[in-house]
């Protein structure tokens, strides 16, 4: 692995939903222009951790964060930081494709519009759709409803929607779990091409997928009080072939989880 600079860093991160502690003492370093996978059994806090990176947990009433998340060395939970600014620079793709009930064009143009981005909107939308490997399929249907696309197309549209803002990081929360194998492979190929320009963090419950696409992997498990903790973190190849922790080995070989 070539040495990469740090994009995101969590330091002693703790997360509560009301009285329930969802994450405990998470410290990870997410490198620039690499794909980092967050893996672990259901309910271990993978998605919660991902949502800490763009402050989406702020939208859940009763959620509290302790510790630090640094983005390019700056705390994103600082008092002077606007969460909309964080989400503008750190995009997110969700588990289930969630296109807006608008046209394909309006979906991709949504981000630039709400953020008041000047310049040629048509070009920006086309570029984002091309980058998401969707342009050729739907260039004739730009003004048709996005709800008419197939599941895989919808998910690539959601990726294009994120790309239209030219973010620095893309967070993906099990982006293929609602898709068939062919659509899944398309998204994986897309991720591999996007990582040249973007930093990608992906939550997945699919070990093969983590093995196929990611450079780094973080393995989370929950403790007895169901709070998620980081068990092991390192280059994917090392984590999968030579795990340091017995629990990682058990999980990867399918003995638990």
């Amino acid at each position: 692995m070539i040495h990469a600079t740090v994009s995101l860093e969590a330091k002693g991160l703790e997360l509560w939903y009301g009285k329930f502690q969802a994450l405990r003492g998470i410290s990870v370093v997410i490198p620039h222009n690499q794909i980092t996978a967050i893996i672990g059994p259901s309910g271990c806090g993978k998605s919660s951790l991902l949502r800490c990176f763009n402050r989406m947990n702020d939208l859940i009433p009763g959620s509290r964060v302790k510790g630090e998340v640094l983005f390019d060395g700056r705390s994103i939970y600082g008092a002077d930081v606007d969460p909309t600014e964080v989400r503008y620079r750190i995009g997110m793709v969700f588990q289930k494709p969630n296109p807006f009930p608008k046209s394909v064009f309006d979906n991709v143009a949504f981000g630039p519009r709400v953020n008041g981005i000047q310049g040629n909107l048509e070009e920006r939308v086309e570029h984002a759709l091309r980058r998401a490997a969707l342009w050729d399929e739907i260039k004739d249907r730009l003004h048709k409803s996005a709800m008419q696309l197939s599941g895989g197309q919808q998910q690539r549209l959601c990726i294009a929607r994120t790309l239209a803002l030219e973010p620095e990081v893309i967070l993906m929360d099990e982006p293929c779990s609602a898709l068939d194998p062919v659509a899944t492979l398309k998204i994986e190929d897309l991720m591999k091409s996007l990582v040249e320009e973007y930093t990608i963090v992906i939550v997945t419950h699919n070990m093969q997928q983590a093995g196929r696409v990611s450079d780094m992997a973080a393995f989370l498990m929950m403790e007895e009080d169901r709070a998620g903790t980081l068990v092991e973190y390192g280059p994917t190849a090392q984590l999968f072939t030579n795990p340091k922790d017995k629990r990682t080995e058990d999980y990867i070989t399918g003995r638990i989880g």
Partner: protein, 292 residues
């Protein structure tokens, strides 16, 4: 084989049960339609002959041949227009605040419970409130404005609840998707929630207005006039409305006034159906726009 036969017989009984019940349900449905048909036929038989241009363009009179409902019709249109103007922004605003902004705490639940209760308060109570608050305390007099504000109070809970339902029907995943693109809460409301929720909001508003248009009780409570020989020119003028005019004609002993009442009901029904049609038109237009 024996089992099979037993099963067959059982099936027959179940089929008969199903047929009997579906017939009963059909009869139940027909009851409503039948009553409506009888009502419309009866009203049209009594009133259609009396419904002419003279009836629409004349003021009330002691002579049935010369009487009309011009002042009541305009009074109703005035009151409805003002009520819509007041209720839509206040109702939608309240619903948006409660659903999208208010933290889920005691105060919110207290407000919510009260809105639900207010929706069930009898209209005459709103009439008395309007009399005390708008006519007397705020010294608006027995004016169009006081009447519209009274109906606004009466309609608001229904509109708020309908708008809240419409807002709740917007999938949370759409909101999250917009937030993740750096949208502010207002932008999420304006660009994601509103387009999807507007048709439901309009339907709720029109239904509440349809109820308000036929209300006589609160208008009687604030003493809208019966014999009005002018059209209200501004919101501070005195007024009367169609239900009061109809009620007044119905309560007279002479048969001719009964016919006038029936003709008045036809006019009221036409106004009401026009409003409903407008609501459906608007709803369809918005729905089309969001689906395209």
């Amino acid at each position: 084989m024996k089992n099979g036969l037993a099963f067959q017989r059982h099936l027959k009984v179940r089929k008969i049960k199903g047929n009997v019940l579906s017939t009963l349900f059909l009869l139940a449905t027909l009851t409503g339609i039948l009553v409506l048909i009888v009502l419309i036929v009866d009203v049209f038989k009594d009133g259609l002959g009396w419904l002419d241009w003279q009836f629409i363009t004349s003021y009330p009179s002691r002579k049935p041949q010369e009487a009309g409902l011009l002042s009541a019709l305009f009074g109703t249109l005035w009151v409805m227009a003002l009520t819509a103007l007041f209720t839509f922004p206040i109702g939608i605003g309240t619903a948006i605040y409660l659903e999208e902004y208010a933290p889920d705490n005691r105060l919110r639940r207290f407000i919510q419970t009260n809105i639900n209760n207010l929706a069930g308060v009898p209209s005459i109570v709103y009439g008395l409130l309007g009399l005390a608050l708008f006519v007397q305390a705020l010294a608006l007099g027995r004016s169009v404005l006081a009447g519209a504000m009274t109906l606004t109070l009466m309609s608001l809970p229904v509109i708020i609840i309908a708008a809240q339902e419409a807002i709740r029907s917007v999938p949370q995943s759409h909101r999250l998707g917009a937030f993740a693109l750096g949208a502010t809460r207002w932008q999420v409301v304006r660009r994601i929630v509103m387009p999807t929720a507007i048709p439901g909001m309009l339907t709720g508003t029109i239904l509440a207005m349809s109820r308000a248009i036929g209300e006589a009780a609160p208008m009687i409570a604030i003493s809208a006039l019966v014999y009005l020989t002018f059209i209200p020119k501004d919101p501070t003028d005195r007024f009367t409305v169609l239900p009061i005019q109809i009620y007044n004609w119905v309560s007279r002993p002479q048969e001719e006034f009964g016919h006038l009442a029936a003709a008045g009901i036809i006019v009221l029904l036409v106004v009401l159906l026009t409003m409903n049609a407008a609501a459906i038109f608007l709803r369809n237009r918005y729905q089309k726009r969001t689906e395209e």
